[in-house]
């Protein structure tokens, strides 16, 4: 255990039970994030990125047919030693999450303004409705939402995909968490708005030494944003190291295939690369950066 790390994951396993038996989806993952560090988790669709972040958030442990083992330490505290209520107390305050699917994460029976009020109450239990609205409007402007008042009066189904995503981002940032779990935060944003939200996250990291675990399929964004990268394939980390090392000298066959499949702004057609290969199961490669 390393108390100096914000997040330290050791030998994390997850399996799901069903009527036909048990399926393991995480096969023993090690991953860490230091204070003020931006770490990206990239890889195959279905390889276990979202479930990993939900284990850190502490919600996967409450899913009945899920079985989690291994160690997840947040600022020196072993999450498994906390009761469900104590884990819940961290959520939305010390650890917050931008969910991959904002339209299902935002409760459709409440207006966005009321949802913000609830989120703010987690850190400031006595905050008034008026003050919450003011603070929410300010942070919405920071994520390039021009008509914040209208958005606060709306339900999530009255907003566009990218507006919901920005609402989620704003909610995750507003309580200035110690650890931000950002699961595909930019998929519904145009590139200029995306740049704006990334710079907002970067400010938080720099001013408050917030740590970020950033999940994304957009490798261009990852290259600009992350300090370090973990590459995951079918529930195993296959390669990890500093961003430059991964992009300039990828060693694992899966990482190499992934990087060569990035569609290019300069054209050249859709890449034609096999998305399965036995060599993708090769042992993990570490670029010697254990922090």
């Amino acid at each position: 255990m390393r108390p100096d790390l914000t997040l330290d994951i050791k030998n994390l396993r997850l399996s799901f039970r069903s009527w036909s038996g048990s399926t393991e989806v995480l096969h023993g993952i090690d991953l860490s994030v230091a204070p003020g560090e931006r770490v990206a988790l990239v890889g195959e669709s279905g390889s276990g990125k979202s479930v990993t972040s939900r284990i850190v958030l502490g919600t996967m442990q409450d899913v009945r047919h899920a079985r989690v083992s291994g160690q997840v330490t947040f600022e020196g505290t072993d999450l498994a030693k906390l009761a469900s209520v104590e884990r819940r107390a961290l959520r939305g305050r010390e650890i917050s999450m931008i969910f991959q699917d904002p339209s299902s994460a935002l409760n459709p029976v409440f207006r966005i303004g009321d949802l913000f009020h609830e989120v703010l109450k987690r850190r400031h239990p006595k905050i008034s409705k008026g003050e919450a609205r003011q603070r929410a409007a300010a942070i919405l402007q920071d994520v390039s939402i021009a008509d914040a008042e209208r958005v606060l009066s709306s339900y999530s189904f009255q907003l566009s995909g990218g507006m919901n995503q920005r609402v989620m981002i704003a909610m995750a940032l507003i309580n200035e968490p110690r650890l931000l779990l950002a699961d595909e935060p930019g998929t519904a944003l145009d590139v200029t708005v995306q740049a704006q939200t990334l710079s907002l996250m970067r400010d938080l990291v720099e001013q408050k030494r917030t740590s970020v675990l950033f999940i994304s399929h957009n490798l261009g964004v990852v290259r600009e944003f992350a300090d370090r990268i973990y590459v995951i394939y079918r529930g195993n980390i296959v390669e990890h190291g500093p961003t430059a090392a991964i992009f300039d000298a990828p060693q694992h066959p899966y990482t190499q295939a992934l990087l060569s499949a990035i569609p290019r702004l300069t054209g050249g057609g859709v890449p034609d690369i096999e998305e399965r290969s036995l060599s993708f199961n090769d042992p993990m490669i570490s670029h010697g950066t254990d922090i």
Partner: protein
């Protein structure tokens, strides 16, 4: 020029939320030709999904008309119309019935559209799943336990099962890693060629657009601000907003950086 398969004529759409009025689509006209892939890109909140929904008959335009093969589409669509145009929604979870298994959803799509013999359905479902890079075993699972990209692929598989002539794809690959994305894009290309499909492909990913679209339409604040052949648009964008967009794309190679910088420099403010 051949006749367009789909023709959008002076379409506007307004929403009202409390005291505010939202002009989601503002007097948009555009034609879509048979067999083409037309990309729609632009600002988040500029009305792209609203337009997609109206093409499907989910919400009528406040004014204007949408024509399919020269016939105006009514607000209430017949079964025939629903067969001819399919939508892959931006948020696939809301499009899949949570109580139905993946296999049942796909079989239903095949049934509704009367494709193949009933006895062949399980094999057809397995083939569909394989084509989008999923394990055929996934047929027994429910949508709630799937990853974001797995759901997205189910939504694509379902739309393709319907064998419609026009497919509107709203951010269909945003939750896929680039390897699986490439597979899905190749599949879409192959089906377009073999079945003469027409795609309206809505996305924020300009690198994908460059590699699959014949033409690109750029939206900003509810308006169509530019429409051009893909090569022309990337070489010579005429609208400032288009060059702003292209020059803000996060890229990975030096050639792409050069293209981006070239556009950033021609921009006149």
């Amino acid at each position: 020029m051949p006749d367009p398969i789909l023709s959008i004529r002076a379409v506007s759409k307004e929403f009202h939320v409390g005291k505010s009025r939202v002009q989601a689509i503002d007097d948009v006209s555009l034609d879509v030709f048979e067999g083409e892939c037309l990309a729609i890109v632009g600002e988040s909140g500029s009305g792209k999904s609203t337009l997609a929904n109206m093409i499907l008959g989910l919400g009528a335009p406040t004014s204007g008309a949408i024509r399919f093969k020269n016939v105006e589409l009514p607000a209430k669509r017949s079964k025939l119309h629903r067969r001819q145009i399919q939508l892959v929604q931006q948020n696939p979870l809301s499009a899949l019935n949570p109580r139905r298994s993946i296999g049942a959803s796909l079989r239903l799509a095949l049934d509704v559209h009367g494709h193949g013999q009933r006895a062949d359905r399980p094999d057809m479902v397995a083939a569909l799943l394989k084509e989008v890079g999923l394990d055929p075993d996934m047929a027994t699972r429910s949508p709630s336990g799937l990853s974001g990209g797995q759901r997205q692929r189910i939504a694509i598989a379902r739309a393709l099962a319907c064998q419609s002539q026009v497919v509107v794809l709203d951010e269909p690959t945003s939750a896929l890693d680039v390897l699986v994305q490439a597979r899905v894009l190749r599949l879409l290309n192959a089906l377009r060629a073999s079945r003469k499909l027409t795609y309206i492909f809505i996305t924020h990913d300009l690198s994908v657009v460059r590699n699959i679209a014949d033409r690109v339409a750029v939206f900003q604040k509810g308006k169509l601000v530019e429409i051009a052949q893909t090569e022309t648009l990337f070489a010579n964008p005429t609208c400032d907003y288009t060059s702003t967009l292209i020059s803000a794309v996060p890229v990975v190679s030096p050639e792409e950086v050069a293209l981006r910088d070239a556009l950033a420099n021609v921009r006149v403010f």
